[in-house]
């Protein structure tokens, strides 16, 4: 167990306020299984995905967010934030993570992170 009340032992872990994530932008969370990018669309929807493009490992959090998609900053692959699937002619998928929004706070599912570490 950790001294922190929101350690990886609970079901959900607090990662910050929803307002920390800019609209049409993203923030990064460092985890034991690599970085997770938390996106916020223009409509206000929030999505958590691996911060790693399956093409050449680009940091998706730095991409331009448009509609419910993000375009990777390295070579312009486009991913649907809801499914993690590559759009258009490109084939590939980014892992999506369960994200809980409660009282203006954001929570990642610990189970999903554990599974990711084990994977």
């Amino acid at each position: 167990m950790t001294h922190h009340p929101a350690g990886l032992s609970g079901d959900w872990i607090d990662i910050g306020a929803t307002d920390d994530v800019p609209r049409e932008g993203a923030r990064v969370v460092r985890t034991p299984c690599g970085e997770v990018a938390v996106f916020r669309t223009a409509a206000g929807d929030l999505h958590a995905l691996d911060n790693r493009c399956p093409h050449r490992g680009g940091p998706l959090a730095e991409g331009i967010v448009h509609g419910h998609s993000v375009t990777c900053p390295l070579h312009n692959w486009v991913f649907d934030l809801r499914t993690g699937k590559a759009q258009g002619a490109d084939e590939g998928c980014v892992r999506t993570m369960p994200l809980k929004i409660e009282g203006g706070r954001l929570y990642l599912a610990v189970g999903a992170l554990r599974a990711a570490v084990a994977a």
Partner: protein
């Protein structure tokens, strides 16, 4: 000796008649044209889009100066003919110019009708008839202000929409209870009123103008308000009279020709003097005067045929149709709507879609048609109307249009394919389907421009463009080459140039406003259009538009270059490529402190620090700022570097202080955003050690001054520069470089480098605007300086001080927790 033909008037009717005449009988006449307007022949129907800012004067030219020259026509611009001596067969212009004729063609057009109320001659009361009127309206709109349009017909509504697009508060005064009451019933008039109101125009019906009130300004009286007969006063900075036109037959009457409402002509367009013909809006034929373009063109054709000696051609009158040219409102009207005992109406109303259709039928023949909201069947109804075909069998489904007429609905292309060959496609130019298909076949046409060039179909008001495109598809299938303008991206059909123009014309202020107003197809744009729109708005409204960081590529958001591993490279500015021990020490310290893995010299005479982590960026910048260095913008669509050689200060061949000039240019130009990256260089002599002749803008110093080069590149494409001009002084060199850069900032398409812009617009255009026209050069420099007053801010310092808050650190770090577990 060719016969002498003199033409009075240089409008659309005259232009068309001459064009037809030259095609039929080249060289038969020595032609002289007198035009009261100080310009060439242009497309008057398209004044509305010019007023709305959707088109420019150049876009609506019909005949340019070269056309007159090529055809050996003498054009007297701005010379109004005041007298014709019929016995000696000569015309006299106001300035005393005299021309002798064998045949005379009168095409004096029409004059706008001005409601004769007190104050109607005040300054600020204008009509909507020619380019000068549009100029007056656009000038009035510059200061915002209020406009009152008298008359709620086609012309008035187009004027109102245009003035609104120019940013004025607009009120339309209409005498009758509903708009366009001749064509629309009250409910449809209301629909139209709603649509006009939704565009921000106030409509006042039952408005009887009693007087135009004046105020004094600078010692002269000008318009202040319009007073209605019920006592209401509507403030106005400009009043547009758009209640109608009447034939301009003053001259014809004065010289003794037979005149009624207009100049009387027979079926051969001859006046009461057989040597004098008349065409266009100034004539009266079989008791009718026309104010639309199609009849004028038909008359022009007959007049040309007669002048070329064809005895068969005759004009028997026209059935006319018209469309409202207000973007976003579809209204088509044709024929006659007067009520009559033997007339019946079929009306379709679909309030949900705001669609209204009204057909007037007399003895099983269609005599009138109004379509509002859905005008797709306009051509079909117009064809039924003109041919006078019986609609008895179609009657039950007639109102649903052509799709229903054959029993099964047709797709739009098939519907066009099903039209008979005589069906008129282009009303303005009287081009029927058969003629277009013939031209496509004979000339092997596959593009809209090709069809326009050969048949003139859709070349005037353009509202039949869709029909013509479908006809090309129906004829040549997949060979049709659709767009000549490449759209910005998949989110829109519009090209970069159109988007830039519409942002200015519609006064759009934000990316969502652009997407909404210009009908973007996606919900939030895409990675191609968002950065482009952000730049266009920034360039259009310096100091006012708030930059949208989320619409910028990561490099411009983080002011560093992203690398393949997600780290960044940082390049501090070194003015003109000159550095110092102090700067180098600070750079060395940063390299040690942040364990920068690679330090490299760039091609633009800078030092590049590679492999810096995102969260270290602010600290790196702080240290570089402390040594006096600012961002080098090595990452941006912006002024990058000014490369220099050592010039006359050190070099034995140097002719001028190229280093000093380079530093001066860089300190003046840095911080400006541009359509694509911009690299400069200044070489001190023609040996060109700074490689100025492959830069976007380069200066090569020579003994006698400075050669200004533009349009070089050494990347994907290798391009040598072209010489824009040569100047004697360094101050003029800086001004020219600035003017070129600003012109590029205003005209360039996003990601279009200067060499591509140069290829697109042509060196002559750039030279005319920056070298030849000194006032324009000054204006460009002033606009650049205005922009710089907001743009020349070091983004590094801004971020370090906490402004433009982009979070550089992760929002949470869970790896620490894991370790503690």
């Amino acid at each position: 000796m060719p016969e002498r033909l003199v033409v009075i008037g240089n409008g659309m009717a005259a232009g068309r008649a001459i064009e037809e005449l030259i095609a039929r009988a080249p060289g038969r006449y020595a032609i002289e044209i007198f035009g009261a307007e100080p310009r060439v022949n242009y497309n008057r129907i398209l004044l509305s889009p010019v007023l709305a800012g959707e088109k420019r004067y150049e876009d609506i030219l019909i005949h340019d100066d070269a056309w007159y020259a090529e055809n050996g026509i003498r054009l007297h611009k701005g010379r109004e003919v005041v007298h014709v001596d019929r016995s000696r067969k000569r015309v006299v212009a106001a300035d005393g110019t005299v021309a002798e004729y064998d045949r005379l063609l009168i095409a004096t057009g029409s004059s706008p009708f001005i409601v004769p109320v007190p104050g109607s001659t005040l300054k600020g009361v204008v009509t909507f008839r020619d380019l000068d009127d549009v100029g007056a309206m656009v000038a009035a709109a510059k200061g915002g202000g209020r406009a009152v349009v008298v008359g709620g017909g086609l012309l008035g509504l187009e004027a109102a929409a245009g003035l609104r697009a120019q940013g004025m508060q607009v009120t339309v005064l209409h005498l009758m209870p509903t708009l366009m009451e001749r064509q629309l019933d009250t409910a449809a008039g209301y629909l139209l009123e709603q649509a006009v109101a939704a565009r921000g125009v106030t409509v006042v019906t039952r408005a009887n103008t009693q007087a135009i009130l004046a105020r004094e300004e600078g010692g002269e009286e000008r318009v202040a308000a319009v007073r209605l007969d019920d006592g209401r006063e509507i403030p106005a900075d400009i009043v547009v009279m758009a209640v109608g036109i009447r034939p301009n037959a003053t001259l014809a009457k004065a010289i003794g020709l037979e005149v009624n409402r207009g100049v009387l002509v027979d079926d051969f367009m001859a006046t009461s003097d057989p040597d004098i013909l008349a065409v266009g809006e100034c004539v009266e034929h079989r008791g009718l005067c026309y104010g639309l373009v199609a009849p004028l063109y038909e008359m022009a054709k007959v007049a040309a045929a007669r002048l070329s000696g064809d005895p068969a051609a005759a004009y028997t009158g026209s059935v006319t149709s018209t469309k409202l040219k207000v973007t976003g409102i579809d209204l088509f009207s044709a024929g006659d709507f007067a009520e009559g005992r033997d007339r019946e109406e079929i009306v379709l109303r679909d309030a949900g879609r705001s669609v209204y259709k009204r057909l007037v039928i007399q003895q099983d023949r269609l005599v009138g048609a109004v379509l509002y909201g859905d005008t797709a069947d306009g051509a079909w109804f117009f064809d039924l109307l003109k041919t006078g075909a019986s609609v008895a069998d179609l009657r039950e489904t007639l109102i649903f249009g052509q799709g229903f007429a054959g029993g099964t609905p047709l797709d739009p292309t098939a519907a066009v394919a099903a039209l008979p060959d005589e069906a008129e496609i282009c009303g303005c130019n009287g081009v029927c389907k058969g003629k277009i298909i013939a031209a496509i076949g004979e000339k092997g046409l596959t593009t809209l421009d090709g069809v326009r060039a050969h048949t003139k179909a859709s070349a005037s008001c353009g509202s039949c463009t869709g029909l013509v495109e479908k006809l090309i598809v129906a004829t040549v299938g997949d060979a049709y080459t659709a767009k000549t303008v490449a759209p910005v991206c998949g989110c829109t059909e519009l090209g970069h140039g159109e988007v830039r123009r519409l942002i200015l014309a519609k006064d759009l202020k934000s990316i969502p406003a652009v997407m909404q107003e210009l009908g973007w197809k996606s919900s939030g744009g895409c990675v191609k259009c968002r950065p482009a729109l952000n730049y266009y708005l920034l360039a259009a409204r310096p100091g006012e538009y708030v930059d949208d960081a989320q619409s910028r590529f990561v490099n411009e958001r983080l002011h560093a270059n992203i690398q393949k591993d997600g780290t960044y490279s940082v390049v501090p500015r070194m003015w003109g490529g000159v550095t110092s021990a102090k700067e180098l020490r600070a750079i060395a310290d940063v390299v040690d402190k942040f364990e920068v893995p690679m330090v490299k010299c760039t091609g633009g005479q800078r030092i590049d620090l590679l492999g810096i982590r995102k969260e270290d960026l602010p600290a790196v910048w702080r240290d570089l700022n402390a040594a006096g260095m600012v961002s080098g913008h090595a990452y941006g669509k912006a002024l990058r570097t000014v490369k220099t050689c050592v010039g006359s200060e050190w070099c034995r061949f140097g002719t001028q202080d190229s280093t000093g000039l380079g530093i001066r240019l860089e300190k003046y130009l840095w911080g400006s955003w541009t359509p694509a990256k911009v690299k400069l260089a200044v070489s001190g002599c023609p040996r060109n050690c700074a490689e100025a002749t492959c830069k976007d803008i380069g200066i090569v110093c020579v003994d006698s001054g400075y050669e200004i080069h533009i349009g070089g590149a050494a990347g994907l494409d290798i391009k040598g520069t072209v010489v824009l001009t040569k100047v004697a002084g360094d101050g003029e060199a800086v001004a020219l470089v600035t003017a070129v850069l600003q012109l590029y900032r205003e005209q360039g398409y996003y990601l279009e480098r200067i060499y591509k812009w140069l290829a697109r617009v042509g060196l002559d255009v750039i030279r005319a605007q920056t070298v030849d026209d000194l006032a324009n050069r000054r204006a460009l420099v002033e606009r650049f300086e205005l922009s710089q007053s907001f743009a020349q801010v070091d983004p590094w310092e801004e971020r370090v001080s906490g402004a433009g808050a982009v979070p550089f650190r992760p929002m949470a770090d869970l790896s620490v927790l894991e370790a503690a577990q």
